[in-house]
């Protein structure tokens, strides 16, 4: 995702002189194409995320489109109040980019796990929270957030994520992309889990469960219509995210479902449990914290069938 982001940013910066990039002394083997081409609009501010974010707000006030870049929680939680006051309250045109979504830096330890960022960033008014599912979506998302005035948070994996989209999909912030359809279940995911969820959908189909797959690349503003449609048109909904179950995509979807009239759709959130954990290992290993996703999906379909049978 990272190379796709940098390529899209360079492409945009070539056309738009308002685009600046600030980094917090991270971006080795990633940001060089921007630095080397647009050196006068690139600043490594040092290991100082609060300052980076304040500077970005000040530059945005002077008409710039300013990207801040760092990894995991550094450009978000470390400088959260600068984001809230200096960026969001002033509707500043600042685009915050974090690489290392979820467990992308898994074995680096707890400090490097970005598993609460969606919850916290989506609580901020006016902040678009964008979490693309593959390199293709990353390119499209980068272009889209440049075109959208105001604060945005772009949550990326690392490098080497597989392409899920075989062609370029229509992309609009706040509009989910549907990758498969079926009536038994809707799988809604965001960000780095997209490939796993598409694979899950295919395994389910092989065993007779037809699922709709939605890439909810924008968690805020959420595609409420897509969630409501899934609730009406499919028997169950499972959200899957490499993020805490507290306040993330699952919570956003649950908010929509809880306010809907009529019979309840069977619903399950899959994510990192909202408890302190001490596991350390590879991304695959860490994803075990989400539970047995196949079994949860199948179990949710069973629950939906049982609920229908009772009616």
């Amino acid at each position: 995702m990272r190379p796709s982001f940098v390529a899209a940013l360079c492409e945009a910066a070539a056309k738009d002189p308002r685009i600046w990039l600030l980094c917090g002394d991270l971006g080795y083997s990633a940001l060089e194409p921007f630095r080397d081409t647009f050196g006068s609009r690139y600043v490594n501010v040092g290991v100082a995320e609060q300052n980076m974010t304040g500077i970005a707000a000040g530059m945005a006030r002077a008409g710039k489109i300013v990207f801040t870049y760092s990894i995991a929680n550094f450009p978000t939680l470390r400088c959260l109040e600068q984001i809230r006051n200096d960026v969001c309250y002033h509707e500043a045109n600042v685009k915050i980019v974090a690489v290392g979504a979820g467990f992308s830096y898994s074995s680096q330890g707890y400090t490097h796990h970005g598993v609460e960022d969606i919850a916290i960033m989506r609580a901020l008014p006016g902040m678009a929270v964008v979490s693309p599912g593959d390199p293709v979506e990353t390119t499209l998302a980068t272009r889209a957030i440049i075109d959208r005035p105001g604060p945005c948070y772009l949550r990326l994996g690392k490098a080497g994520e597989p392409k899920v989209h075989t062609s370029v999909p229509a992309f609009e912030l706040g509009k989910a992309i549907q990758l498969a359809d079926g009536e038994d279940l809707t799988l809604i995911t965001t960000g780095t889990m997209l490939k796993d969820v598409v694979d899950l959908s295919m395994r389910l189909r092989a065993s007779g469960i037809a699922s709709r797959v939605l890439s909810m690349h924008t968690v805020s503003p959420l595609d409420v219509a897509a969630v409501q449609a899934a609730a009406h048109e499919t028997a169950a909904i499972v959200t899957i995210e490499e993020h805490s179950v507290v306040g993330g995509l699952g919570s956003a979807v649950a908010d929509v479902l809880a306010e809907m009239d009529g019979p309840r759709v069977t619903f399950k959130k899959v994510g990192v449990p909202g408890r302190l954990y001490h596991e350390i290992g590879s991304q695959k290993f860490m994803r075990q914290l989400l539970g047995d996703v196949d079994a949860i999906a199948r179990g949710t379909v069973e629950r939906a069938r049982a609920a229908r049978a009772q009616k």
Binding site: W20, S40, R41, V43, V45, G46, A48, Q50, N51, M52, T53, G54, I55, A56, A57, G58, M59, A60, R61, A62, G63, K64, V66, E81, Q82, N85, D86, Y89, H90
Partner: protein, 281 residues
């Protein structure tokens, strides 16, 4: 950036009078709203008077004028004084000051920009303003513009690590279009600076970080005016004025008293204060 001599706009007696009006208005506002922070408004009144009366290139008729000098009150709790000087300079009607902190007002107890001409940045949480000022200065340099950015800090605010991130940043990027003034009134929120977290040797710290430093009596309009007459102090360096001030300056029973960080003058105290300032109620 080459040094620019700013022609004096207001003569010294006018600056002193403007400072007196800032003090009186702030006292009236804080009294009417039963609000806090009169002490900080009084310590910085002379600095604001010189900035808005003489130094800064601003146009109340064009608050968004691209080449205006920018001012950030990073110590956002001094809002009443800033609103007062903006009203005095005609950025918005004086009547607005009567709504300070009232239901439906635009003028909150800590600085808010929304709908308030002349306010560049909402502040109130300490340690934010200097970074934003660095961003404005950096963007100005990038665009080849000649405007300056002035940031007023409190002393207590310099406890915040984020201030020192920005203090490191500005000289590294040669932001000589950035001017910091520290309202060094020696009293912070819950004790004296000496007791809570000593800043001394304060000027040496700024110098060591690469700033051009001046120390002045910040309650002397002539001294403030003289210090800001030629900017930057040194080409290629950001400038900082360490303004030694007295918290509560100008109202005898508030001077040097921590309590007036919190207390609001009652009607009798307001009357006494205004009498001392030599203005009518």
């Amino acid at each position: 950036m080459s040094p620019t001599k700013t022609p004096p706009k207001a003569a010294l007696p006018e600056l002193v009078e403007l400072a007196r009006q800032i003090r009186a208005q702030s006292a009236r506002m804080v009294h009417a709203a039963n609000a806090s922070h009169i002490g900080t408004c009084l310590s910085m009144a002379d600095i604001l008077a010189v900035l808005y009366g003489q130094v800064m290139r601003v146009d109340p008729a064009r608050p968004e004028w691209e080449d205006r000098d920018r001012f950030i009150l990073s110590k956002g709790h001094g809002a009443a004084a800033l609103y007062s000087v903006l009203a005095e300079r005609g950025f918005f009607p004086r009547e607005w000051l009567r709504t300070y902190c009232a239901d439906g007002t635009k003028l909150s107890g800590h600085v808010s920009h929304y709908g308030v001409p002349g306010i560049e940045l909402s502040t109130g949480s300490l340690g934010h303003g200097l970074s934003v000022g660095c961003g404005m200065a950096l963007a100005g340099k990038g665009d080849g513009r000649s405007h300056r950015t002035f940031v007023l800090l409190s002393d207590g605010e310099c406890d915040e690590g984020s201030i020192w991130e920005a203090v490191l940043f500005a000289p590294h990027h040669k932001l000589d279009n950035l001017v910091v003034i520290v309202d060094f009134n020696k009293i912070q929120s819950f004790g004296s600076v000496k007791e809570v977290l000593d800043l001394d040797p304060f000027a040496d710290k700024w110098r060591a970080f690469g700033w051009a430093v001046r120390e002045i009596d910040g309650n002397d309009c002539a001294a403030v005016s003289e210090s800001l007459a030629t900017l930057p102090f040194e080409a290629g360096k950001p400038s900082v004025v360490i303004a030694h001030t007295i918290k509560g300056k100008g109202i005898s029973f508030m001077e040097g008293q921590l309590a007036w960080h919190y207390k609001s003058p009652n009607a009798e105290q307001l009357e006494k204060a205004l009498a001392e300032l030599g203005v009518s109620k």
